[in-house]
Assembly symmetry: none
Homo-oligomer: 203 residues x 4
Amino acid sequence: MNKNLRNAKNKLIKDSIIKAAREIIEKDGLAALSIRKLAKKVGYSPAAIYQYFDNKSEIVKAVIEEGYKDIIKSIVAEHSNFNSVEEEIRFKLKNYINSALENKYYYQAVMISEEKNILQFTAILNSDLRQEQSALQILIDLIKKGQKQDEFSDKKAENLAKTIWTATYGLITRMIIERVEEQKKQNELIESHFQLIFSGIRK
Amino acid sequence: MNKNLRNAKNKLIKDSIIKAAREIIEKDGLAALSIRKLAKKVGYSPAAIYQYFDNKSEIVKAVIEEGYKDIIKSIVAEHSNFNSVEEEIRFKLKNYINSALENKYYYQAVMISEEKNILQFTAILNSDLRQEQSALQILIDLIKKGQKQDEFSDKKAENLAKTIWTATYGLITRMIIERVEEQKKQNELIESHFQLIFSGIRK
Amino acid sequence: MNKNLRNAKNKLIKDSIIKAAREIIEKDGLAALSIRKLAKKVGYSPAAIYQYFDNKSEIVKAVIEEGYKDIIKSIVAEHSNFNSVEEEIRFKLKNYINSALENKYYYQAVMISEEKNILQFTAILNSDLRQEQSALQILIDLIKKGQKQDEFSDKKAENLAKTIWTATYGLITRMIIERVEEQKKQNELIESHFQLIFSGIRK
Amino acid sequence: MNKNLRNAKNKLIKDSIIKAAREIIEKDGLAALSIRKLAKKVGYSPAAIYQYFDNKSEIVKAVIEEGYKDIIKSIVAEHSNFNSVEEEIRFKLKNYINSALENKYYYQAVMISEEKNILQFTAILNSDLRQEQSALQILIDLIKKGQKQDEFSDKKAENLAKTIWTATYGLITRMIIERVEEQKKQNELIESHFQLIFSGIRK
DNA sequence: CATGAATGAGGATTCATTCAT
DNA sequence: GATGAATGAATCCTCATTCAT
């Protein structure tokens, strides 16, 4: 159908805009994203952008949504069999960390933003802001599972999850800012991080 | 000497500019710092600012350089007698967290910076960058003390310190970004954070 | 005939565009009329509009041309029996004023226009421009009637009519611009206006 | 003094901006006034304009204020001895009308505007909007004077004044729109207008 | 030493209009 | 006939920076 074709084409262009926006953010930070720069990168006039998005903030939202999905995927990623819940959480957090480190500046730009649009995806602590709770919720569920299996101690799962999450965020961010890029060093830090966490919650 | 006098005066003015800039950053965030606003606050013309700093980014650099010391002070602050090393660490970290939360935007601006001059103060993980290791070193020393007193388990003190530090940084940063401002909520999160850490290192 | 059919259809669409434009003007003022808004309202694409009108100003012209007749109708409206000519004039002017106030922005757009096509309908003073003199002529005739019946003084009827007309136009326009919308206030002003006029022409 | 000189220079430029703005308005209407056009006309960059005015609306306000003063002056203009209040009012209104006709488009642009900034000067009917009531107040005072001297009938002075004013506004506006430019015709219309008014209020 | 004046570049949007399809 | 896509020009406004004075 003609209409389908058009929709597809439309989506293609939308995607190319999002991609360009993401690249700008990754390279120069969220603050550097301007419609003009974006349009130039995509090869359109600034006005043309508005045919695909209502305003800048819609673009930002789309970029984040799109991009955050990727990061979240890493934590949702199923894996056949784990010997313990700890192993499962380790595996998922590791995935998340790697995924974040592969998109350093993008991750940072996104996580630092105080725009409502974005906080709705990134908020961990403030549930008033959060809309999609997937990431945190998954962690909470896993902890509860671990508690049921008598693997973890009986602290409030939500608090544990939040704490683990902020701690992990801190680790990732410092690694990015301080340019810890050597695999070995990264792994050492991550391992140390996990050890602290899990000796903290293990029974 | 004439020259000395001039230098002194020059430094005085530079300092007043830095102070004003810091206040603006703290009040409205780094993005809100403009030369015009700054000049107005200092009582000079925008052009005059350029007699003391080459450009805006020099000012930002100076502000940040100038001020991390304040934040660090909070952790050095001596306090007479503690019943345990844990108590001492809790006390100092709490001080640090409070100090950071009292200077939210400023703290964030400082900690996010990737300038070498600044990383020299703020780097936790990358010892190549760090020059003055005070903050981290204090924590390492405390952990070692706790280990000697058989209070803490025998993991590598430096790694523990780094992990605690990045975790704490993560907590602070998320509280700032997500505007967790209620005292009660803050304390709950901080307590949860401490519990995880200390059950992780306690013997 | 095919051609006739086509023409008819064409006119139908043109009319729907004009109608939509008029509604926009009436609702938000002439300045708010944009092709996009118009197209949306008619259910066409902006580009389609250009198949029926060369450009925006043609549309505006058409809207205005189309519609003054409506306003004029209000003054022609017959009414059975009046006790005096004054009463009749009052009745008709009141009708006219109300009709104008019900189409505020539209009325204003029409009356302000300096297009020849439109002045042909709206001109009061300049008889060179006026073609259809209905509105003014009616007033002139009424005044003459009043003079014959010894109700009005013997000034030149045409001048009186023009003066009454411009005065009424002034009243309406100021009420629109200054948003005098309360019925009571409107009536008070209109009554005061009539009193001045009629004590000016009564014998 | 240096400062005085600067202030004077500053005022000169401000005035030149106002003058240019006024010319644009007179030529193409208020809607055509843009900062860019204005800057070009004055020979400055758009940004420079903002050194003299905070924003566009301040400019518009200044233009009106400045210009409306001129028009108002005409009505305030003292004249030695009048034989009657009627004569005085006639004289002042005549001045006002002439002054308006000398600045046709400017007058129209100003009087048609619905911006609060401007209505504050131009509002006649709606005293909520009006701030500087000079023009209307003068007329009210004159009417009261005429009533005291038993020259005018005892209708409510404020209503009379408003009615006279809106009527006069209507006359002026129609003369402008319909391009009644011949002196003789203008005078005839004005005279007819005055006759209606004064036979309406004379005792 | 200080500043007022000036600017170019850039910020987000909106608009009338065109043109290939 | 109709439209989606595209654009250039315009809107107001802000900013860091420069320079003559």
